[in-house]
């Protein structure tokens, strides 16, 4: 592990532990949910080189399912999140098996179109609350012991979920499986000629990414106690692309930095209405033109250049 990565690990854990004492806990939880979402997305874009423009379907879809499971079926929080995650996983396997039939730009368009089906379902199905979203989701008690209506208790549960998700991604990336994904990203025909079943690896990566995006969405539904159409809208799919790009795709910590930046920015600009959208769009343009490596990618390059 490089020195830079060790520093990032320490910063991440320390910041995560003390955050609720310095910032509003709900805001800190929002940061963690989006950071996990972006990391899950990065597993697909940064390591497998697949640009999905439909990840809101997994994030928002899981938010609705978990919200419904906890509110109507009366599940406790952890099984609720698990149900949402499983839903996202199955959905990911279905979408993935369709989308990997085409490559590059088509892949992005197919995922976007498939996610639009989930958006219409969230708008029309009876249990989702339509335009109002699914409201009044109770947070419940963790394992029947810890009352999660206490924001600090809720925060540490969310932080734990984030860390588990992050570790899964870390392990995946640093496994032979992760190496093969990178090989597919760099040179797909070559990976194929070496005998790897490229489609199967892409599908597993897609499913895993979707499942973790679902975990993030499910957790968010409990934090805010509702699931809304914003969570499944295509704009959400775009935002997670931006978070990953801005932080640095293909870097472990980049998406966390990107998510923190974008969510903070949205929070600060919330009173400016649609100007937020203009700002997000402008960052997109600047990022793509001048800053393709993102924060962490750029930092790693500079440090690498110095030591070399």
């Amino acid at each position: 592990m490089s020195i830079m990565n060790r520093v990032f690990w320490v910063v991440l854990i320390v910041a995560g532990l003390i955050a609720p004492h310095f910032v509003y806990p709900v805001f800190a939880m929002k940061l963690l949910c989006f950071a996990l979402f972006a990391c899950a997305f990065n597993l697909l874009l940064g390591y497998a080189g697949l640009l999905s423009f439909g990840h809101a379907a997994f994030f928002g879809g899981a938010a609705y399912i978990t919200g419904h499971a906890v509110k109507v079926w009366g599940l406790s929080p952890l099984p609720g999140i698990l149900v949402g995650t499983l839903f996202a996983m199955v959905l990911g396997a279905i979408f993935g098996s369709l989308a990997i039939r085409r490559q590059g730009i088509y892949f992005a368009m197919i995922t976007l179109a498939l996610a639009q089906i989930i958006f219409f379902l969230a708008l029309k199905l009876p249990f989702t609350g339509g335009e109002n979203g699914l409201q009044g989701v109770p947070r419940g008690t963790l394992l029947g012991v810890v009352d999660l209506s206490d924001p600090i208790a809720m925060y540490y549960m969310v932080f734990a979920i984030f860390l588990i998700g992050f570790l899964i991604i870390y392990r995946t990336v640093h496994s032979p499986f992760g190496q093969i994904l990178t090989a597919i990203r760099e040179n797909e025909p070559r990976a194929r000629s070496l005998g790897y079943d490229v489609e199967r690896f892409k599908l597993i990566a897609f499913t895993l990414s979707a499942a973790l995006a679902g975990t993030a969405g499910a957790t968010k539904a409990l934090v805010f106690q509702f699931a809304s159409l914003t969570d499944v809208h295509w704009q959400m799919s775009g935002e997670v692309v931006l978070m990953t790009l801005l932080g640095g795709m293909g870097t472990l910590f980049g998406p966390v930095a990107g998510a923190v930046t974008i969510v903070t920015l949205q929070n600060e600009l919330a009173s400016f209405g649609s100007w937020v959208q203009v700002a997000i769009g402008s960052i997109f343009v600047v990022c793509v033109l001048l800053f393709r490596r993102g924060f962490v990618g750029e930092l790693a390059r500079r440090l690498g250049a110095k030591s070399a």
């Binding site: 085409r102 992005a108 179109a113 639009q116 649609s274 769009g281």
Partner: protein, 299 residues
């Protein structure tokens, strides 16, 4: 269902299908030459409609001439020129920098541009839409088609769009100008060696594709009200159309667009709740049976 009802839904479907056809045609032309999917296509369609609306309702008062309106026919020319010009600026100064990188960056850049345009208009105009009052007198009223009464304007929009689509097809597939363009797709280096300025040709092509979107926007203005989000949802459906058709052929883009409009119209008659999603489900079926798309080349 009676034959007349089916014919009526066919007409309604067609009047939606021509917009799919015009937009997917523009996307296909741009993709053919630049290998870029223009995510801003929907936003530029919206911009085209807004040029017509602003010209008719706002420009006169802003210039101190409250009685002056830019008419529909003028907008039909001015809007594609203006928006096409903007498209050329985008290509020349932004997109061109990305040709050496992965194609997804072009998609992401245009996505950013789409957000900027939508955000700007959402600040100043009603999200739920502003009606366009400039529909020309000569096109108001209804015509009797024998099986139904149909708004004269919609009939005009269908015929006009079909003429524009096939004129575009003719120019690209049957004239020497189009031959140069197609050669530029196949082998830009060689075309350049013949003394043709390929980068300028790319800029003009992008501008033309975008102008088609703006033209569709002007045509849509009297039918649907003009709103900052009118292009956003449409473009996703058009992406599905493009996946179904495959972007290999100009004619394919036009035919697929019209056909899917018809399918959507008929679904509206048979099972209305599925009308919004039927095109996406068709996309799924096409991906399962013929992954390269109906008119696509298998790679």
């Amino acid at each position: 269902m009676s034959l007349n009802a089916i014919l009526a839904q066919t007409m309604l479907g067609l009047s939606q299908g021509v917009f799919y056809a015009m937009l997917s045609l523009g996307l296909a032309i741009i993709f053919g030459l630049l290998n870029v999917i223009n995510f801003a296509h929907g936003a530029l369609y919206m911009l085209g409609a807004f040029v017509a609306l602003i010209g008719y309702s706002y420009l006169g008062p802003w210039l101190g001439q409250p009685d002056w309106h830019m008419g529909f026919w003028t907008a039909l020319v001015v809007s594609p020129l203006l928006v096409g010009g903007l498209g050329m600026l985008i290509e020349r100064f932004l997109l061109r920098r990305l040709y050496d990188f992965d194609h997804i960056y072009g998609l992401l850049l245009t996505f950013g541009i789409a957000l900027i345009l939508q955000g700007l208009f959402a600040n100043y105009f009603n999200i739920s839409g502003t009606p366009y009052p400039g529909q020309p007198e000569s096109l108001s009223g209804i015509v009797n088609l024998g099986f139904m009464y149909f708004p004269k304007y919609r009939l005009f929009a269908i015929l006009f769009s079909i003429v524009v689509c096939f004129a575009t097809w003719f120019v690209i597939e049957r004239t020497s100008l189009g031959a140069v363009l197609r050669a530029g797709v196949e082998n830009p280096k060689l075309v350049e060696a013949f003394g043709i300025n390929v980068p300028r040709m790319v800029t003009l092509t992008f501008g033309f594709g975008v102008a088609l979107a703006a033209l569709a926007g002007v045509l849509a203005a009297p039918i649907y009200s003009v709103s900052p989000l009118m292009g956003a949802d449409l473009i996703i459906t058009v992406f599905a159309v493009v996946v179904i058709g495959g972007m290999g052929s100009i004619l394919g883009a036009i035919v697929t667009g019209l056909m899917l409009g018809l399918v959507q119209g008929l679904t509206q008659a048979v099972y209305p709740p599925a009308a919004n999603t039927v095109i996406f489900f068709i996309m799924v079926v096409v991906l399962l049976i013929r992954p390269a798309g109906l008119f696509g080349k298998v790679v």
